[in-house]
């Protein structure tokens, strides 16, 4: 028996494979395909306090080995989530993580405050890449001070451990990660999508109605892995690797680089069984290499 469990200190996951926010719906969309109990956990679609209409279509563009999305965080808001969705999720024996969004710092806190009362949530993941409508700028994730500020505020109200999800659109990812750690984040996850664009040459207009979107998928894996490698070296809280993971091999690259767990995103669209297959692949790799605990692989990169 191979022990695939990973211990974050504040939570123990049955295995290091999570599904990434926004690519796994509210989880239940995948129950026709896989047994959700097999996952280390899953992160639900980003939640603002209020429902959000999202962007007009076209919302997706396929690019070489990648996908640009500009969904615009369409969502049902916390109340409907708590009423309609959470009751369905409580029966699963896996970590349920809520991806917390906000247009202002206060909105992040409001979401967390509201959800604190609800059972069946294991962790919060704060998505600091939400556009800041109030200040007109991009998002807290691009600046160490605003990262600190949001994380600090959320930690103050949160009744549960908090993962901070970092944006890759920065000069120095380590600086932002350190800020999150300093502000009390219990873990960091990276990366969110890369700001991207595509143009329709015949029509001479942006392919996305929103003009810009976020790139995900295999194309970004080498960039995400580099960032995880850099962040792991400087942090003493757990790091979750995300970006272009399609196979067990991809997941193992992140684990070897030092990620305690990984999240699988775009792969879920291509193959709704991807998460479970990745877990199987990892298991097989351990078996083949006589590794009895997955934790013996984590952070074992020979430089």
């Amino acid at each position: 028996m191979i022990d695939l469990s990973v211990d974050f200190g504040f939570i123990k996951l049955k295995n290091p494979v999570l599904a990434a926010s926004g690519t796994f719906g509210y989880g239940i969309e995948f129950s026709p395909f896989i047994d959700l109990n097999k996952l280390g956990g899953f992160v639900v679609k980003g939640l603002y306090y209020s429902p959000r209409p999202g962007n007009p279509p076209q919302r997706l563009v396929e690019t070489p080995s990648g996908l640009i999305n500009a969904i615009g965080l369409q969502g049902i808001g916390v109340k409907k989530f708590a009423e309609d969705i959470l009751p369905q999720l409580r029966k699963y024996q896996t970590a349920i993580i809520v991806n917390v969004c906000g247009e202002t710092e206060e909105e992040y806190a409001k979401v967390v405050d509201f959800l604190n009362k609800e059972d069946g949530i294991s962790l919060y993941e704060i998505n600091i890449s939400c556009p800041n409508v109030k200040e007109g700028g991009c998002c807290p994730a691009q600046n160490p001070e605003s990262t600190y500020s949001v994380v600090h505020l959320v930690k103050e109200v949160s009744a549960r451990p908090v993962i901070t999800k970092l944006s890759p659109n920065v000069t120095d990812i380590v600086e932002i990660a350190l800020s999150a750690q300093e502000a009390g984040s219990d873990a960091v996850s990276l990366v969110n999508t890369f700001l991207a664009m595509a143009i329709d040459v015949e029509e001479r207009r942006p392919k996305l109605a929103n003009i810009l979107g976020g790139l995900s998928g295999p194309a970004i894996k080498p960039l995400a892995l580099r960032m995880v490698y850099q962040v792991v070296k400087h942090l003493n809280i757990p790091v979750i690797g995300i970006g272009g993971i399609m196979t067990g091999q991809d997941a193992l690259e992140f684990l070897i680089a030092g990620a305690k767990a990984v999240q699988v995103g775009t792969a879920n669209f291509v193959d709704p069984e991807a998460t479970v297959k990745i877990i199987q692949d990892i298991q097989r790799h351990c078996q083949f290499n006589n590794i009895t605990k997955i934790e013996d692989i984590i952070g074992t990169l020979n430089e």
């Binding site: 926004g22 690519t23 796994f24 719906g25 969309e29 995948f30 026709p32 395909f33 679609k45 209409p53 999202g54 007009p56 279509p57 076209q58 919302r59 997706l60 563009v61 396929e62 070489p64 080995s65 990648g66 996908l67 999305n69 969904i71 369409q74 998928g217 295999p218 194309a219 399609m246 775009t266 879920n268 669209f269 291509v270 193959d271 709704p272 069984e273």
Partner: protein, 265 residues
């Protein structure tokens, strides 16, 4: 709804850029309804990355058929598959046409433009076995773009064809061909699929004449099963109108639900 990674191609036909594949996929076949679709993995590599949506063109025992036009990288790769190859498909997906309530309705009209004819064959079969024989309108750019004409004729359907260049049938758009025939016909229900401007024009006629009409919409789909929120169209709901996932709530909607593109601007 299930994933079948071993849908065997048992038969392949093609006419210029149009392809018809017969796939052995018993469970999907047993569940499929007209207007539903499948998501097909076109490559095991990471480019093209996403699955491609195709309507279920017909169901025969444990087989389903898809009918598609080669129009890009994905359909081009697909067109290279041969009998005996396996396809990795997910289906049946979405909600189809409301055909079952129309077994008594006479003068049902099906209107297909180009590859939009694909789901209408399955629908025509279902209606036919339910006891009503729809009238078919089928338009294409040239006579090469209406390859399924004979297939419908062989089943005994009345079919009106149009080509943009007049190389066969009515010269012009299928919408004009349909409007032209309205002097003779009194349709009680329209089902249509094709390019959006075509469907919009039909919708306008239908609304004006008070004919109920349903349309199968297209959109770029990330997943096909409700997980990505990529495929939305503006649909009227109780709350007003919202971006609705057409892979889940559609792809078929009625005239009264769809907010056509130009209208929103």
């Amino acid at each position: 709804m299930l994933k079948d990674p071993h849908a065997l191609i048992t038969h392949k036909e093609h006419w210029k850029d149009y392809y018809l594949f017969t796939l052995e996929s018993p469970i999907i076949a047993s569940q499929a309804e007209p207007g539903q679709f499948i998501m097909v993995r076109v490559s095991s590599l990471s480019c093209p990355l996403l699955r491609r949506p195709f309507s279920i063109h017909s169901v025969e025992g444990k087989n389903i058929e898809i009918f598609f036009q080669k129009s890009g990288i994905g359909t081009s790769l697909l067109s290279n598959k041969i009998t005996g190859d396996f396809m990795d498909i997910i289906g049946p997906l979405g909600k189809g046409f409301s055909w079952s309530q129309h077994s008594k309705t006479q003068d049902i009209v099906l209107i297909g433009g180009g590859r939009g004819i694909a789901p209408l064959y399955f629908l025509s079969q279902k209606l036919h076995s339910a006891g009503t024989t729809p009238i078919i309108f089928y338009g294409g750019k040239t006579k090469d773009d209406i390859p399924l004409k004979e297939k419908f004729e062989q089943k005994g359907f009345t079919i009106y064809c149009s080509t943009d260049d007049g190389s066969f049938g009515f010269r012009g758009l299928i919408t004009d061909c349909f409007k032209d025939q309205l002097k003779n016909l009194t349709p009680k229900q329209i089902f249509a699929c094709g390019p959006e401007p075509m469907m919009k024009a039909i919708s306008q006629v239908a609304v004006k004449r008070g004919i109920p009409a349903e349309f199968s919409l297209e959109s770029v789909m990330g997943c096909g099963f409700g997980a990505c929120w990529g495929c939305v169209k503006k649909i009227k709901t109780k709350a007003g109108s919202e971006w609705v996932k057409i892979c889940e709530e559609g792809p078929v909607f009625s005239s009264f639900e769809i907010v056509w593109e130009e209208q929103e601007k």
